[in-house]
């Protein structure tokens, strides 16, 4: 099934800080729900190992994440794909950052697709769960941004 991904998030941090966080594999690893490992494969390309868990539902995934079409510090495209015991998924989203008086506004939009087992038996709740996972990502990102720069 297809998922529309899109929304707006605001951050207290300045645009450069948000930009660098989003381009930092160490930060991404902390923010991507269930991310166990992120192994660099090339420029802005990483292998992902996920152990995803939402309430009782969970499974392991292997996949890839890549960043492209970068226009620092405001625009970038993120592509994620993975497959595992629960099924498979891909997602491509573009985000743009705009400086705000008290931080940064992020607009993002794109499309995801989920197939395999969860699509076959769990469509009823899949969108809600996906939304929650995206929310988790931003919650974690905020936490990372709030942490002192290492």
């Amino acid at each position: 099934m297809k998922l529309d991904i899109g929304g707006e998030e605001t951050f207290d941090s300045p645009i450069e800080r948000v930009w660098s966080a989003l381009n930092d594999p160490a930060v991404l690893k902390q923010c991507i729900p269930g991310c166990k490992d992120m192994i660099t494969q090339g420029d802005d390309r990483y292998k992902l190992v996920l152990a995803l868990k939402v309430a009782s539902v969970g499974g392991s995934f292997e996949g890839e994440i890549s960043l492209s079409e970068k226009t620092p510090p405001s625009q970038c495209k993120i592509a994620v794909s993975g497959s595992g015991s629960l099924g498979n998924g891909t997602g491509i989203a573009t985000f743009s950052l705009t400086p705000q008086p008290a931080g940064t506004l992020m607009r993002y939009g794109g499309e995801g697709e989920i197939g395999g087992l969860v699509a076959g038996v769990g469509q009823r709740i899949l969108k809600g769960v996906a939304k929650h996972l995206i929310g988790q990502f931003f919650t974690a990102l905020r936490k990372q941004l709030a942490a002192p720069v290492s």
């Binding site: 099934m1 297809k2 395999g116 699509a119 076959g120 038996v121 469509q123």
Partner: protein, 800 residues
Amino acid sequence: MSETSRFTFVSTQRRVREDRRFVVGKGNFVADIDVPNMKHVALVTCPYPAARIKSIDKNAALAMAGVHYVLDGAELAQGTLPLMTGLDTPNVPRRPLAVDIARYAGEWVVAVVADSRALAEDAADAVRIDYEKLPFVLDAEMAMEKDSVLVHQAHGSNVLLDKTFTWGEVDKDFAAAPRHLKLRVKWGRSSTVPIETFGVVTSWDPWREILDVWASIQMPRYNDQIGSALKVPVSSVRVHYDVDVGGSYGVKRGIKHTVLCGYLSRRLGFPVRLIEDRLENMRGGDAHGPERLFDVEAAYGDDGVIHSMKMRALENVGAYAGRSPFQLGKPVGAIVGPYRIKSVQYRAVAVVTNKTTQEAVRGFGQSPTNVAIERVVDEVANTLGLDPMDVRRRNLIRTEDFPYTIPSGTTYDSGDYLALIDKVLAHTSYEELKKKRDALRAQGMLAGIGIAAALEPSGGNATFEALLNPNVTTSTFMDSCRIAVDGLGSITATMHTTSSGQGHETLVGTVIGEVLGLDPELVRVVRPDSLNSLPSGTPVGSRMAIMLGGAAFEAAQKLKTKLTAIGAHDLGIPPERAVYERGEVYDRNAPDKRIKWADLVQIAHRNYHRMPPDMEPGLAVSHVMQVPTGGKLPTADGRVQMYPCTSFEFHMILVTIDPALGRPEIALYRIGHDCGTVINPKIVRGMTMGGIAHGIGAALYEEFAYDPEGQMIAQSFMDYLLPSSHEVPPVEIIHQVTPSPNTVLGQKGSGESGYLGAPAAIANAVNDALKPLGISINTLPLRASVLGDMIAEATAKKAS
């Protein structure tokens, strides 16, 4: 049933002998078969609607304790031949495991063998397959387009079959008719979905060179197909027919499962078992049913008389074709339904798409076709402002018209459609029903009456094969029965196929008992294995009452004749003077001169000197039955006698819909049913009720729905909705018996009854309910949400 007096046992309310073992849980289902040292198979399926298999990493799975083997499609293809298909489509090969390319989400790619099913599933999880996603097509009309993605590149097109038949002067009749209408009807992809999934156990004995097969099967020529695909003589395949099948209604055809297991057990040297789990069954069991798009045109007069019809039926068969495209062929034998339509043009199109493969479903394409026909009849009435009941009366074939030959060449055997309709209406007044409907409407409910008249062609032959594939020359389709009386006089009859709930043992016992005038309970009925069997089909095509019943009848007649001859000889009278009655033979002229059963048996078994000269000793007879009226191939213009018998059913129902919710509820259900002589009333009633329930499912709830990305999203019973006891209303059946002249007892088929008219009646009722809003729907299943949205929109439009 006024005809019962003709019979002693037939048509009487007798118990069904199979039931005793089922109520105590002692059925012999395939999952109950326990073969020593048996291992278990689980499957790895493709998650994408189309994908190239780039690599398969089996190492992690093979390294697990208790795992014996991981089989891929390439190896299996080396060792086996492709599965049999019906059409000549050599570039659309079908195999148990995908080779190079997987063509639907859920297709089997790898089979894992382990000590237990749980371990096999653990190992299946550990198999890593690298795929390259490929473009796919799901929609049948899109698949027909020239620039469509191809499901099978080598075939060059997605069209497997596109054949147009013209029977009669269609153009002339259309030109002459003052009125025409066009209608598009969609039948959603559903199936029979038995509660028992498909299962198979195979065991190869290399010293005897025999493959033993126990399967939950309902498949003609099953052993032939196993032998062919595994490249062993069919005499090396021993299919055990004494396996109880937990429901089938057409779909239990697991040939791919069997070839897979047969290969594995030969390769590995131990028995293997594959019992589909529900997910495997739903997505990759290749047991989906028709998904059909009808475009129908009718030419008719101001009086509602339909003169001619054009129908295009477009079938989305899924990724591979077994026999499923033939489901476009069977309806040719009843293409005008119960109506006197003079001419017909029929275009049958089958396309492949990236969906799960289909199998035969109850009615073999007839029920969807009946929806199309019956919707057209209702629309004819609508356009003329006539009552649909009146329009039917004007078009129905009359009893004096029988035998009646329809434009496509089949002769309907017998019927009295109007009489049965009158019986139903005498039971439940149509005028009262209309008043009830109108009263509900006055209270703000949507309410509609649905009527449907439908035929059940029965006694199945395979003529549709030759009709759709001229290279097929199959013209016979047999069933057999053997009767042996042992040395102490007990009777044992054999039947030579599995059974899936139709009560065949009871059928055989009843018919033999009737002919021999002996209590049917005295007749033991067994099912030997395929190596001990006479040629037989299976309970497909609503044929067993006619074919197995016929074979049992004829075999019993042979036995009776032999007993009479023995008796006459022993009594020293000419055979024509001897009378057989209830196991004894007496002299017509001196009824006290009689010889008893035990003595007849004694003579046949041990006193050859008292036998008529040259007569075989013993009391063993058999009969191989050919389909009555069968045996001819189609003419050049595609006319052919299809099934020998046509049962008739007339449904009249009342449906209510709360306009705010859109959920249809069946408030009243009446059916008139005529399947000729009823052999066992309890069985026929059950079949009809079950068929109606199945029809309710297809009309309202059941669909193997796909999302636009090619995922089948009704894989569990939480999304594929089978009717429960709440969804099936009380049904009253009004019986009529119009015997068939083509069968031994006047019987016709009833295995598909109810199902053939229920969806049409429901579709008509829902449309009648929607009529005051000026809207209509011709897409099944009729989901509450879709109806609710339509009703809301129409209501808003009306208000504004």
